[in-house]
């Protein structure tokens, strides 16, 4: 297959309407960055298309929810589209769940270089260079409340390199790229290549992680197609602020000072590794030892978190500690279960509750009567998947309290 070399930029899930979430408190120095991060990340996506001298920018949905973003996003996108138009870069935009094709305001006319695919059936557009078609871009926007019909994707009959743009497909897992050479997918915030052969299907992920669950680098994907039609994808990080989850293993001899020191060392390394990025760090503590009992909200975790924020969170760009989680199971000495003490009773009670998954915790008894039927009533309802974590946290707190610690 002889093919003119191509360079495309694939982005999705810009979600200009979503500032970062998952922080219980926003430090003053991060406030502006948290607000602007989606726009900064999106701007870097467009700048990547310019610096890479891309043939086209592929937007695979969820670019913006205009109902939640306001006019600012519209103006921003029009401005960026105009920049690309000045450099002759086409934009192929397939609407997703948040940005269906019909949601774009008619009053804001898109530049000619922007091709917003219609919903309903796959539309095919030839990507031209110097008046000659070099690739076929096929795309479809998602309809509100309807499944995406991807049956219209097909490889170009003349052998042109065919790119599909869609907000996910209804194909079987691993078969998303069977119809075209490269399937640019959106709707998934984590970067993932779901199909390699015969065609590549790739989720480029969001250019900016929005919550502590969306850790690691995020950005857009630069697609390079060589003369033999071989596709190579490369991540270009665009996130100005990055969520990280750091795992620390502790031993029986680790106390809270040693843990604090380990975290400080780790943060220093992270700062050195990402000197220009603002970091939001969540900690996962595993291991053994009595420190596990005290690593809970309201316990030692709060104290360490405050210290780390004071030491590393004040600078810009800094490393802000989001929180410390410890899901490690309790390892109490076995004799504690047999002691005739309140703590022994407590442990036995928790053991019994964990063993009997069907038993009701009856937390509604603790609800004030006037709240038992209101919107706050679900607070006392514990689902099966919440039960384990809740009992673990409660057992930690119970042991902590039995040690004389304050609530």
């Amino acid at each position: 297959m002889s093919q003119p070399p191509l360079r495309l930029v694939h982005a999705s899930d810009l979600h200009l309407e979503q500032p970062l979430a998952g922080l219980a408190e926003v430090p003053e120095q991060l406030h502006e960055l948290l607000l602007e991060a989606p726009y900064q990340a999106a701007r870097r996506v467009f700048e990547t298309a310019l610096t890479e001298e891309a043939d086209a920018l592929l937007l695979a949905g969820d670019v913006v929810d205009l109902e939640r973003s306001g006019p600012r996003a519209v103006m921003f996108l029009l401005e960026q589209f105009a920049r690309l138009e000045q450099h002759g870069i086409d934009v192929y935009w397939a609407g997703g769940r948040a940005d269906p094709a019909e949601a774009w305001p008619p009053a804001a006319e898109l530049p000619e270089n922007v091709h917003l695919f219609a919903s309903g059936e796959v539309e095919s557009i030839a990507l031209e260079r110097d008046g000659q078609a070099v690739a076929a871009i096929q795309g479809i926007s998602r309809s509100q409340g309807a499944a995406l019909d991807d049956s219209g994707f097909y490889r170009d009959e003349d052998g042109l390199f065919t790119v599909g743009v869609a907000y996910g497909t209804s194909a079987m897992p691993g078969a998303e790229g069977d119809r075209v050479h490269y399937m640019a997918l959106g709707g998934q915030h984590h970067r993932q290549t779901v199909d390699q052969s015969p065609g590549v299907a790739h989720f480029c992920g969001t250019p900016q992680g929005r919550s502590p669950r969306e850790t690691g680098p995020h950005g857009c994907t630069v697609i390079t197609v060589d003369g033999q039609g071989q596709v190579k994808t490369q991540l270009v990080p665009c996130d100005p602020i990055r969520w990280l989850t750091e795992t620390i293993e502790i031993t029986a001899s680790t106390d809270h000072r040693a843990l604090h020191q380990q975290m400080e060392d780790r943060l220093r390394k992270l700062r050195a590794r990402h000197p220009e990025l603002a970091l939001l760090v969540s900690w996962q503590v595993h291991g053994h030892g009595t420190l596990l009992y005290h690593l809970r909200t309201g316990g030692v975790s709060d104290q360490i978190t405050a210290d780390l924020r004071r030491c590393f969170g004040r600078d810009m760009p800094g490393a802000w500690t989001v929180g410390i989680e410890c899901d490690a199971p309790l390892e109490v000495p076995p004799e504690w279960f047999h002691q005739e003490t309140i703590r022994g009773d407590l442990l036995r009670q928790f053991q019994q509750l964990e063993a009997d998954q069907q038993s009701d915790l009856q937390l509604e008894d603790f609800l004030p009567d006037d709240l038992r039927t209101g919107p706050l009533a679900p607070i006392a309802t514990v689902t099966g998947d919440q039960r384990g974590g809740l009992l673990l946290a409660a057992s930690k707190m119970g042991i902590d309290l039995m040690d004389g610690d304050d609530l």
Partner: protein, 1134 residues
């Protein structure tokens, strides 16, 4: 810690009071009212914890004077010391503490603090040293550490208090989530969340606003475009009218000129530059004519120059032949040189051939050199076999001679080797025969062995002699040994003698044993000496027998030596030297044996070789004779050797080769010469054909003609050819120039003709016969042209003025003579319309700008994102609070289960003990004291199994309960190692006789368990009850007798009934009704009829200001603000 002595220097009513040897168990003091019992208890408190302000105010300075303070003697474990606390007059503070041990060591309050085991004063005052007031205050649960400790201690103390944990969790939960109307974290967050969502909902309309603005702006744009178009039209109209007004004069002037020009139409039109064109034509015609004449003269000059070149046409025609000969010039010159070289080489070779032939003839012995030339190679080949035969014979002879010489040399070498062996043996006088030499060596070896045996026997004999001397010396015992043996013998004899002769000596009593030891010692010495000497004698005899045998062996050896010496021809030298020489000689002889055989074989081979040499010599002579005969036959010298002949034969062959080379050189030279002659002829012929013979050659004679040579002739021809070639090229160049000149001349002449035709055609077109008429016509036309120009200028001005504003027809209508009078009114009307339209456009632009500003502000508005960020934070905090509430509720759920279990089955040991005391004090009427762990209250179960709160009990029963609890707590402290004396001041005053008797019994039993109790009573019958229990009882001294004026008791004891009502009445706004004594019926209590209506909780009320922190209220009052009237956590029973 126990108090043994009390000494009051001055405190309240007491002065110089001394209470000594107090019992470590129970001591009952009787004192009437105002006897100073409470003062005594306060004194104990003051010494132990200091003079508080309250006590200072009440008890200091002492009423009876004296030093304020006193001392206590204390026994704590094994340590006994006295604590004194004194205070100066007017001094503040707790007073000075001095501790003095039994050994007289003094110190500060450290010992006292250690003895008190960190029990604070409040606890001591409420637990250990209590009066009737304190015991009643317990029911109010005042904010004292003692009250809290009491309940903590009685409510399931682990590492922490379950009560504290449950209460803390409840408070924490309430902080997170409280009932509607109360502020809590979750409800606050929910409110914030809802408010933010509402704000977001409001902000979500921004898009619609923005789109509406965009649409409206679009509409405005269309209106503005329309207005601008209208304005443009009106501007254009006004401009047209304005231009028409300005154009009016020019318009009229242009019309006049147009009419004049119209009248001159129909005349011949000449170009404006007709005169210039005519003059130009005339000048061009003249110029071309001059140029043509000039070129014609130049062509004539070229033609003459070409004729002067003188070209040889014959030579030019034979150019190919001349060129070919020119290419052969080098070859021709080379041929000359080759001919000369080949001739000289041939001459040289022939000369060398002649000289070599002469030398060879001389060597071969020929008399004439020419004879050698007659001999051919065949003759010489015939000599070749003879030469080879002779050389083979010589070679064979020489080889045989060398073999013979080698064999003879080998024979001589072997002979010399044998001779040297013989000569060595003869020099030492040894036999020449191998067998004899072998016998000689054997005899010499035997002789050496005999000599060796003799030497060994002599050495052995000397050793035996030495051994014999040593054995002879050993037969005599050494002096030191003899001394010891003698001493042992003498001691033994003395012991035996002392036994026999002095029986009374110290050895007498053990005489038998001593004598036996003495005998054993003597016998041992004698036997040891005998056996030692006997063994030495035996060994000496053996030595002598060995020496005799050695003597015989020496003699035999000497005989053998003499015999061998006689047989051996020993002349001189030692046996060993001779033996070595003989052995060496024998080795030489043994080595010569194979050499002799080799020598004989070599001798035989030499003889054979000599015969072969003679035979080869004969063969050689025959070959030489045949050789010489053949040489003579050929005329050569007979002395010529075959080897020499071979070298001459090679030289002869070289001569033949030389002759051949000379012949070849000569043939080559003649061939070159022929080629040269052929070329020379070709050159000469060509020169003649082209008339290029040199002029000199034609004029000189034949002899001189040969001087020129072929090369000179050829060079002449080639030089002439080159000169002619150059002339031809020059001629061609001149011809080309002439042709070009001719072409140019023709052009000029054609131009002249054309120009003349054009001039004539102009005249014809103007209908002029000659040039003069033509020029007249041109003048007329110039005048007409001026008029046209003026008309055209006016037209341009008009056109420029109207430019693109409107077509000319529009202005023609406006400037029509009939309408020109309406221009000014039309202009004014257009100006007014234009102003109105401009105002309209300005308004539209302003409206559009305002909308754009609104749109821009909407686009720059980030409040939506800020609200979303705030919302995410609030939701996260809400989720955290939600989870925190769940966790705490789960922990509470577990702790509630534990609490219920504790309440039902596992009340603390303290309460169990209190229950026992309570049962004893009440005669089993109240059997159990317990507490709901989540509240600071006590409940008592009666014999009917009913749980009663404290406030429903009678005062006496309540005091029994509090006394029970205190006794249990004191016992609990004791179990924890804290033993402090218990001072009870009239705590039994409200007991009836039966209860007092039971109390006395309980207290005595309690004291018997190791607790020290100091019980003060004002009732003698109670005092007597303690007496009946065998307790130590004292009457307090009459203070009136001891000190000065009587003082009043600090505070009169409250009446029993008042004491009951007082605390309860202070607690709540609507106090609990006092229950009738002795026991309320079950139906009288609302909590019993409706147990679910009671709840035990904390309420902040008016009593809070008076120091009361918590109190018990009916549930209906305590939860008045709660619809269901009870806390969701608390038990709904009493």
């Amino acid at each position: 810690m126990k108090i043994t002595d009390v000494r009051i220097d001055g405190f309240g009513v007491w002065r110089e009071l001394q209470l000594n040897d107090l019992s470590p168990r129970l001591t009952a003091f009787y004192g009437a009212n105002e006897a100073g019992k409470t003062t005594l208890m306060q004194f104990v408190r003051s010494v132990l914890y200091g003079f508080s302000d309250q006590r200072r105010e009440r008890y200091l300075p002492p009423l009876a004077g004296g030093q304020a303070g006193g001392s206590l003697k204390i026994v704590d474990a094994q340590d006994a010391f006295e604590v004194s606390r004194l205070s100066e007059l007017g001094e503040a503070g707790p007073g000075r503490v001095l501790t003095t041990t039994a050994a007289g060591e003094t110190g500060g309050d450290r010992r006292l603090h250690e003895a008190l085991a960190d029990v604070d004063e409040t606890t001591f005052n409420n637990i250990f040293a209590v009066g009737l007031r304190e015991i009643q205050e317990l029911g109010t649960l005042s904010d004292t550490q003692a009250a809290q400790s009491l309940y903590r201690l009685t409510s399931g103390i682990d590492r922490v208090s379950l009560y504290d944990v449950i209460q803390g969790l409840r408070r924490s939960r309430n902080d997170l989530l409280a009932t509607a109307g109360q502020k809590s974290k979750i409800t606050t967050l929910v409110d914030q969340r809802d408010a933010l969502r509402a704000q977001l909902q409001q902000h979500s309309t921004q898009n619609r606003k923005w789109s509406q603005l965009a649409v409206r702006i679009g509409e405005l744009d269309e209106e503005i475009v329309a207005a601008e178009a209208q304005l443009q039209r009106q501007e254009q109209h006004a401009r047209i009218v304005e231009i028409a007004v300005e154009l009016q004069p020019k318009w009229e002037k242009r019309a006049r000129l147009a009419r004049q020009l119209e009248r001159q139409t129909g005349q011949i039109e000449l170009p404006s530059d007709a005169v210039e064109q005519l003059d130009d034509l005339e000048s061009k015609i003249e110029n071309h004519r001059r140029q043509a004449a000039k070129l014609q003269g130049q062509r004539q000059q070229l033609r003459e120059e070409s004729q002067r070149l003188g070209i040889n046409q014959l030579l030019v025609d034979n150019v190919s032949r001349v060129t070919a000969l020119g290419e052969q010039r080098d070859w021709l010159e080379s041929l000359g040189r080759q001919v000369e070289e080949l001739d000289s080489q041939a001459d040289e070779l022939e000369h060398r051939l002649t000289s070599e032939q002469d030398r060879l003839a001389r060597v071969l012995g020929l008399k004439e050199t020419n004879h050698l030339q007659e001999i051919n190679s065949g003759d010489l080949q015939k000599l070749q076999p003879l030469v080879e035969q002779a050389r083979a014979a010589e070679k064979q002879h020489a080889q045989a001679q060398r073999g013979c010489d080698a064999l003879a040399e080998g024979e001589r070498s072997l002979t010399a080797q044998i001779d040297s062996a013989m000569v060595g043996g003869e020099r030492h006088g040894l036999p020449m025969d191998l067998e004899e030499a072998s016998d000689l060596v054997a005899q010499l070896r035997r002789r050496a062995q005999v000599e060796h045996r003799l030497e060994k026997a002599r050495d052995h004999e000397a050793e035996m002699e030495q051994q014999g001397r040593e054995l002879l010396e050993e037969q005599v015992i050494p002096l030191w040994l003899f001394g010891w043996l003698l001493a042992a013998f003498v001691v033994g004899a003395l012991l035996v003698g002392s036994w026999l002769l002095v029986p009374g000596s110290p050895f007498g009593t053990l005489g038998g044993v001593v004598a036996a030891v003495g005998l054993c010692g003597g016998a041992f010495a004698f036997l040891f000496k005998y056996f030692t000497e006997s063994a030495a004698s035996n060994r000496l005899d053996d030595c002598h027998r060995h020496m005799e045998v050695l003597g015989e062996q020496l003699q035999a050896a000497q005989r053998d030596r003499k015999k061998l010496d006689a047989e051996l021809p020993l002349t001189d030298g030692a046996v060993q030297i001779r033996l070595q020489a003989a052995e060496q000689h024998l080795e030489d002889l043994e080595a010569v044996l194979p050499v002799e055989a080799q020598r004989r074989e070599a001798e035989h081979k030499v003889t054979s070789a000599k015969s072969r040499v003679a035979q080869s010599s004969r063969v050689l002579e025959e070959a030489l004779a045949a050789w010489q005969a053949q040489l003579s036959a050929l005329g050569f010298s007979e002395k010529l050797e075959p080897q020499r002949f071979l070298s001459l034969l090679e030289r002869y062959e070289a001569l033949l080769e030389l002759e051949k080379r000379a012949r070849y050189r000569r043939e080559d030279a003649s061939q070159r010469r022929r080629e040269q002659a052929r070329l020379v002829r070709r050159v000469a012929n060509l020169c003649e054909e082209t008339n290029c013979l040199p002029e000199v050659a034609e004029q000189e004679d034949d002899d001189q003609e040969s001087v020129l040579g072929p090369l000179d002739l050829l060079d002449h021809l080639l030089g002439e050819f080159r000169r002619q070639h150059s002339a031809v090229e020059q001629r061609e160049h001149l011809r080309k120039q002439a042709r070009e000149l001719k072409d140019t001349e023709s052009k000029h002449r054609r131009a002249v003709a054309g120009l003349e035709r054009r001039r004539q055609s102009k005249f014809d077109a103007a209908h002029c016969e000659d040039e003069q008429a033509y020029r007249q016509l041109v003048l007329q036309q110039a005048n007409r042209l001026k008029m046209r120009r003026r008309h055209a200028a006016l037209c341009r001005e008009v056109t420029d003025a109207i430019s693109r504003h409107a077509p000319e027809e529009t202005f023609a209508e406006l400037l029509d003579p009939e309408a020109v009078g309406r221009l000014d009114p039309l202009w004014e009307s257009a100006c007014e319309d234009l102003q109105q339209q401009q105002d309209l456009l300005k308004k539209l632009a302003e409206r559009r700008g305002a909308m754009e500003q609104q749109q821009r502000s909407l686009a720059e508005d980030r409040s939506l994102a800020e609200r979303q960020l705030e919302l995410s934070c609030v939701e996260q905090r809400l989720a955290d609070a939600w989870q925190s509430w769940r966790v705490k509720a789960t922990v509470s759920r577990v702790l509630e289960r534990i609490r219920a279990d504790y309440e039902a089955h596992r009340q603390p040991e303290t309460l169990e003990e209190a229950s026992r005391y309570m049962a004893q004090l009440t005669g089993d009427r109240y059997r159990r004291v317990w507490t709901p762990l989540a509240n600071d209250i006590l409940l008592v179960d009666n014999d009917a199994g009913e749980s009663l709160p404290v406030e429903v009990l009678s005062r006496g029963t309540r005091e029994q309960l509090y006394l029970s609890v205190r006794l249990a707590v004191v016992a609990m402290y004791a179990r924890r190692g804290i033993t402090l004396p218990m001072v009870l001041d009239d705590v039994l005053v409200n007991f009836d006789a039966v209860r007092a008797q039971r109390a006395a019994e309980v207290l005595c039993k309690f004291a018997a368990e190791g607790h020290q109790l100091l019980v003060f009573t004002c009732h003698e019958h109670i005092w007597q009850m303690f007496q009946s229990q065998q307790a130590e009882c004292h009457r307090l001294p009459d203070r009136l007798r001891v000190a000065g004026p009587p003082i009043a008791e600090p505070e009169p004891l409250p009446e029993p009934e008042q004491a009951v009502e007082e605390p309860v009445a202070e607690l709540v706004a609507e106090p609990v009704q006092e229950q009738p004594e002795p026991k309320p019926s079950e139906t009288e209590y609302a909590w019993q009829a409706e147990p679910q209506s009671y709840e035990y909780g904390f309420h902040q009320g008016e009593a809070e200001n008076s120091g009361t922190l918590a109190y018990i209220v009916p549930a209906t009052e305590g939860s008045a603000n709660r619809p269901d009237g009870h806390d969701h956590l608390e038990p709904r029973r009493a």
